[in-house]
Each structure stands twice: as C-alpha cells, then as structure tokens.
C-alpha cells in the first residue's frame, strides 16, 4: 500500500518550485498534525502554522512566506489547499480502472461499450446504452435503456441510472445514488385519489460532475432535468423533476431543489437547505444550512431563514413558547409606544 514517489516528480506535476532534495521519496500524504517522515503534508490554514516547526513530514506544500519555518523540503504554492487537492489522486487506493468486463455483467447486445471500459460483476447495461471510453461501472450497478455516458465516467457499486439519462464526460456517481427516477407528479383525480403523471422527460448532466451516495435526481415530467458542468453534490441530496442547476453549483448533504426551479451558476447550498418549486435563483447565491427559499432570489449574496442560537433545551422551550406570542408582543409594544406619546 505505501507509495513511492520522487519529490521532483511531485513538484513537476504540481508545477511548484521545490526547495530541498529532489530525490526524497514520498510514501504517503498526511495532515500537518499527523505527518511522519516519508510523508508530504500541506499548510492551508494559518491556524496550524505553529506546527511547522515540529512537523516531521519529509516535504511540505506551503506559501513562500511560510517556508522559513519548516526544516524539511518545501514546495512553494500560492494556494497550498488546491495543490494538495491536485496531488491527492496520487495516493488514492480506490479500485483501478483495469479495462476488464466481468463475465457476470449483463450487457445488452446493442449497447455500445467504447474501448477501455471496466464493467463490474453483476452490473446490468440496458439496450442501446452508450458507454464512452474508459468508463468504470461498478458491481451491481444498473444503466437503463438508451442512457449514455461520456468518456471517463465512474459509477460506483449499486448505482442506478434509469432510461434516457445522459451523462457528460468525467462524471462520478456514488453508491446508492438514483438518477432518473420518476418525479413526484400526480393530479387530484376528483374523487380524493391521485392520478399519476407519467414522467416522460429525461436527465441531462454535464461534464466533471460528482454525485454523492444515496442522492436522487429525478427525471423531468415533459422536458429534462438538467445539471450543468462542474456541479458537485454531497450525499442524500434531492433534485426534483425539471429543475435546472447551473455550472459549478455545490450542494451539501440533504440539500434539495424542488420541481422546475432554476439555479444560477456557482451557488453554494448548505446542508439541508431547500429551494421551493418554480423559483429562479441568481448566480453566486449562498444558502446557510437549513435555509428554505420560498421566493426567487435576484441578487447574489448569502441568505438564511432558519436556526436559532443553540440553547439548553429548558431555555429553548421558553423562547419557543414566546415565539408563539410574537404577534401579541408586537401589538402590546405598539400600544405602549402610543401611550408614551
């Protein structure tokens, strides 16, 4: 499991100036608080700068101004966190794309599997599916009829793509994620029950998108549900039918977008935040955790709608009761103000 990289090769890959021995061998990557000899580490947060003097790492990625504090080899970066991110893939032990199609995989005879694809045991590839080159399909994963993947996609084990789902290139989907299930569309049937609206749209996802474990992206009712390029989605996220998510949007766990809502580019949604249906959100909107957006947002900025300061429960219970009295409190205050005049 330990890796063996020459420090010079790392510096060249990251395009960083190296101060120290080019031939040092790096076995692992570690946080600054845990690094030992043979490790490379990084200083991204100045809060940890005092650890530089005592850190035993063989090499450190850091800003030039910090390099004098570290005795080992230094890789000088204007953005050490980004440099670390770029390097992190060198130390991954995730399953390799070996280009092997497991004999138990069930692949429709008219599916198109480009060169270099890996297909795991017991996966099921439907009719007319197109897999671009170098895709990885995990075990027990299903790709529905007519769906297509661009090159270099990675579907982990137990992923489900329904029919007519289109992924761009370099899309990663984690286990348990479901793309293309029916949107939640029903019409009252006039007799107290519900008439299902068949969801005849598809899902279109751009390039370089990542979708977390157990997230759901529903198919459109009439048109498609659309995710732009560079979108990153955590676990348990829900994108409802006909939503459109702009490029580079980031959504933390349990974030949700309801039906037909359009999200601008570069938005960041905190955990368990939600945007109601048929709204339009501008570019560069940040939602703090648990925020519920009930109307369209036209200006970029940070928005919130939920959460009190954390309190001990007995105190919170009294505040909560007073919340129920807020309207009366307001009226009583108005009366007091009038009486003072």
């Amino acid at each position: 499991m330990p890796f063996n990289y020459r420090l010079k090769d790392i510096a060249e890959f990251l395009e960083l100036e190296l101060i120290g021995s080019e031939d040092s061998v790096i076995h692992s990557i570690s946080g600054i608080d845990k690094a030992v000899s043979g490790d490379i580490s990084f200083l991204a947060n100045q809060r940890y700068a005092p650890l530089l003097a005592v850190c035993k790492a063989t090499a450190m990625i850091l800003r030039p101004a910090d390099s004098h504090q570290f005795k080992g080899a230094c890789l000088l970066s204007s953005d050490p966190y980004l440099s670390y991110a770029k390097l992190s893939g060198w130390f991954s032990e995730a399953p390799k794309k070996l280009g092997i199609i497991h004999p138990t995989a069930v692949i429709a005879s008219n599916a198109h599997v480009a060169s270099g694809c890996s297909i795991g045991a017991n996966s099921v590839i439907g009719a007319q599916v197109i897999l671009g080159s170098n895709c990885y399909i995990g075990a027990n994963t299903c790709v529905g009829e007519r769906s297509s993947l661009g090159s270099d996609c990675y579907l982990a084990d137990n992923v489900t793509l329904y029919h007519d789902v289109k992924l761009g290139c370099n899309v990663t989907v984690h286990s348990g994620a479901v793309i293309g299930a029916d949107g939640f569309g029903f019409a009252p049937d006039g007799a107290g029950g519900w008439e299902k609206i068949h969801q005849n749209g598809g899902v279109i996802i751009g390039d370089k998108v990542e979708i977390g474990a157990n997230s759901t992206i529903d198919r459109g009712a009439l048109n498609d549900t659309v995710l732009g390029n560079g979108v990153i989605i955590d676990d348990h996220v829900h994108i409802a039918h006909n939503a459109a998510i702009g490029d580079n949007v980031a959504m933390a766990a349990y974030a949700a977008v309801a039906g037909s809502t359009v999200i601008g580019e570069n938005c960041v949604f905190g955990g368990n935040s939600a945007v109601l249906g048929h709204l339009k959100i501008a570019d560069n909107v940040h939602l703090t955790a648990r925020t519920t957006v009930t109307k369209s947002i036209k200006e970029s900025g940070s928005y919130s709608s939920a959460g009190f300061p954390l309190m001990e429960s007995f105190k919170w219970r009294r505040c909560s009761v007073n919340f129920g009295k807020l309207e009366k409190i307001h009226h009583r205050l108005q009366k007091v103000e009038l009486d003072q005049e």
Copy 2:
C-alpha cells in the same frame, strides 16, 4: 421514439369533446411554452392563457371557455390537468413489461410467479414469495422470503423488499427504496449500551401506492407498519415502525413519520415535514414544509411550525440572536406595561 396517435383515439380515451380534425396525428406531448406542430399540450393554469394565441401545438386540452383563443384542435375538459395526467402514460418510454424472466434472475423454487411477470437480470426472489400477474421486477432487485405482490406491481432496479412485506395491486416502488428494514428499536441495557429489539412485524401496503427513490418504510416491532390505498410518497421519505398511513396521503421529499403514529386519510405533508411518534393525526391535515408535529392533531386544516421569512444572512444573524432574548424581551415588555399603568 416519436409516437403516432390519431387525435380521435386520444379524445375517445379521455372521453372529451374534440373540436378540429379527428385525423390529426400526434407525435408528442409538451408544455404550452415549448409545444410545436405535432404536439398535444394543455392549459391547466390560467396564467399561461396568453400563450394560447401563439402556441404551435396541433391540439390543446383546455376548458371550453378558453377554446376560442386557440387556432388548433381543442379537446374540451373540465379539468385539463387531470386529462393531461391520464394521457401522459401514452407517451412514456419507460421499460416495457415484456413478460420475460431473465435467465440470470435467481428465483426460489417455491416462489410463485403468476403469468405475465417480467423479472430483470440478477434480481433475487426469495423463498415462498408470491408475485401476482403482470408484475415487473427490475434488475438487481431483491424480494425477501414470504413477501407478496398483488397484480401489476412495478419494482424498479435496485429495490429492496425484506421478508414478510405485502404489497397490494398496482404498487410502484422506485430504485433505492427499502421496505421492511428493521425499525429503530433498542432498550437501554442498564450498562450504557443498547439491547436490540428484534423487529418481528411486517409491512402491509395497499393498492395503487407509489414509493419514491431511496425512501424507507420500516417493518413493525410487534405488529405491522401499514400504508393504505392510494398513498403517494416522494424520494427520501421515512416511515418508521408501526406507523399507519391513511388512504391517499401524499408525502413530499424527506417527509417522515415516527414510530406508532397514525395518520388519517387524504393528508398532504410538505417536504421535510415530520410527525413525532405515538401521535394521531386527523384526516385532511396539511403540513407546510419543515413542520414538526409534536402533538396529536384532531382537526383537519393547515399546520406549520418552522421557517422564517428568507433574509440576507447578516440580518438573519441579528434576528436569530434576538430570538434567544425573547423571554427577556417579553418580561421587559410586561414591566414597561406595568409601569405605564
């Protein structure tokens, strides 16, 4: 992929009066804003009525009073949205029920599979399972021992039914949904740990129920968890052990019902709403998004308990702090009032 339906056949199926050419051919169904020649569309929301004059659809489902505004063929409906829902299935491209049992499916020798069933690749049908006629079981789906499905059920790919789960007829379950996992039952063991309470009940689900992707319906502890007829459930919903959900209840994404709670008929639960355990909710209760129900509700109506108006985060932070002072604010107001007297 394009369909070819005679307009006359559509009118007859929907039992609607047709104004225009019976022999027009319909290829697709579209929203009023996107419809082109060859499409059928519908006017459900009067807000879009101005589009009637310019819409290029070949045919339109609309109320009689609106028909004069549209130049193409008109299907006159007192409820265009319901007519659209009924027609939507004609334009579905979801996998067809072909009545084929894939050779890789693993079916217990004593399972009963009625005529017309489709069973997907690598699905696993346990001992003593009963599948009613014309059921569709997707790929990589598991049906546990002694579970039963009525006729015309549809389990998508990667669905899990545990043992002793009973579905009625015409039940649809989307990918990633889990029905019959253990309820969350543990007793403190007196030494700081937890003793598991085995969940020996089952799950009983009525007719014409739909369950969304990655939702969970846990099995009962002693008795069964029960869903009535016509229940519709979105993605990421959770029904805990021994809950009972009345007929035609609709639950949006992330809605949750805790253990042993009884929900009346025709309730509508907004996204991320939750009802705590051991409560009883009347018929026709509507919960707005994120509402937490902490006590039984005896009267039908709309209830809420969460969510402020959306604010810019810097303003919200100050309001939030003042919430923590609410009790004191109330007391100070009382004092001011007393002093005025």
Copy 3:
C-alpha cells in the same frame, strides 16, 4: 410460523422468577393491547397497567409490584422492557444464517471467508476481503477490496461497502446503506470550478454497531472516519468524512454529523439533528429533533435550537413575519424603557 417455547425455558433464558405453570407453551410475543392466549407480553409503561386485568396473554413480563393484577403466568423483572428486548430475537423470522454460499456470488479468489459464513445470490466480495466467522452477506451486496468484517456481522441485501472499510464483530448494516463513499471534499480551483480532493482514508467501525437503511458513512480524506462500539444509527443518517462517533451513541433518522467533528460517548441525537464540522461534543449530550449545533458543546445536557410550537398556518405566518422584525422590536422596546426612566 408460530413458535413453540416452554415458558420455563424463557424464564431461564431471561433469568427471571416465574410465577405460574412452567409447561405453558408460548407461540408468539405481542403488545399488551393485542395479546391473546398463547402469547407472552410485557408491561413496560405504567400507563398500560389497567390492561393487565383484561389481557388474555398466557404470560406477562412485569415488575413484581404489578404481578398481583395479572391472572396468567408472571415473569418478574426489574426492567420488563429490557427483558422483552432480550427475548424478542426468539420470535424473529428474519432470514436464517444457514452457512450457505450461493453459487452466483462473485468472491475474489484471494478473499478470506471464515467458517459459517452465508453469502447471498449475486453478492460481490472483492479482492483481499476478510469475512469473520458466521457473517451473513445478503443478496446483491458489495464488499469492496481489502474491507474486513469481524465475526457475526450481518449485511442485508443491497448494502454497499467500499474498499478499506473495517467492521468489528456483530455489526448489522441494513439495505441501501453505503459505507465508505467519498467524503465531500473539493478545493476551489481558482477559475470558478472545483478540484476534487481524493478521499484516501477509510472507515473503522467498532463492535455491536447497527446502521439503518439508506444511511451513509463516508470515508476519511486523509485519516479514517471512526464509529465506536455499540453505536446505533437509524435510517437516512449521514456521517461525513473524518468524523469520530463515541461508544453507544444513538442517532435517529436523518441525523447528521459533518466533517472532522468528534462526538463523545452515550450521546443521543434526535431526528434530523445536525452537528456542523470541526466541532467537539461532550459525552452524554442529548439533541432534540432538528437541532443544529454550530459550536462545540463542553457540558453534558440537553440542547435545542429549532422548532416553534405547532400552530395553524395562518397564525404561524404572522409570527414568522414578526420574527423578521425582532431586531426592530428589541430596539423599540429599549427606547420605550429609556423614555420611561
């Protein structure tokens, strides 16, 4: 399906004093309100004591002080709920561990499968996996490379373990749960996009842990995500990368712990509660439902931050609007107070 146990054997297993016929035969276990002849039941909550006089159960587990109210056989327990929990497994009809490896399971040639293991149809066991003795692996379940399970683990159908996930002994994982998916780690790439941080840590889980359906426990970025012994986790729970969860913590549905947060022992988290990242929570902290923890908690106790009293929606709407005015209300109150002086 009915069981046949001698009451004497039950009393000996539970180590309880039996008053009544040792040879009574018990077929089932039931709640006190539904028990019939042939059943054993229990009185855990004094609220149900009045039912003792009319309950038809053959035997009852109850406190000695209550035994005079029941005419049938009595098993005297100082903690009837715990006694019931211990006994509940005798009446389970969950699939048995038969020690059979299904021929369709795909098991890497260098995986180690100890004696007594059951492996379900179409499951996939990766390279260098270690399964301890008497493990049960359900159908369509995947265990990634180099992962290991201690003895007596139970993975239900459609479970996903990624590579390098280490489970202790007696760990239960329900369907749809995903352990070891990538944590949500990305660095801004300086051009509006995101650079993925490969998640090179693993997951380590202690003994006697239970993980509910569709829950996710992400792998660490550099180090491991860790769950202690005796942790119990409901459905739809999310544990982010590098979190550490102390022994015997209980987390209800949708509870979430963000990245790098450390949770003490014996904490109890209500449904949909959440702890933000990089925090430290003391032992024995109780969070009520929906609480958001935004700062470290140093003292044990019960904490809250969310939820108003349930109101009718029209009233809640007015209170909610007044919340937005809270800062102004406070300022106006201050002014009134000053004017009074």
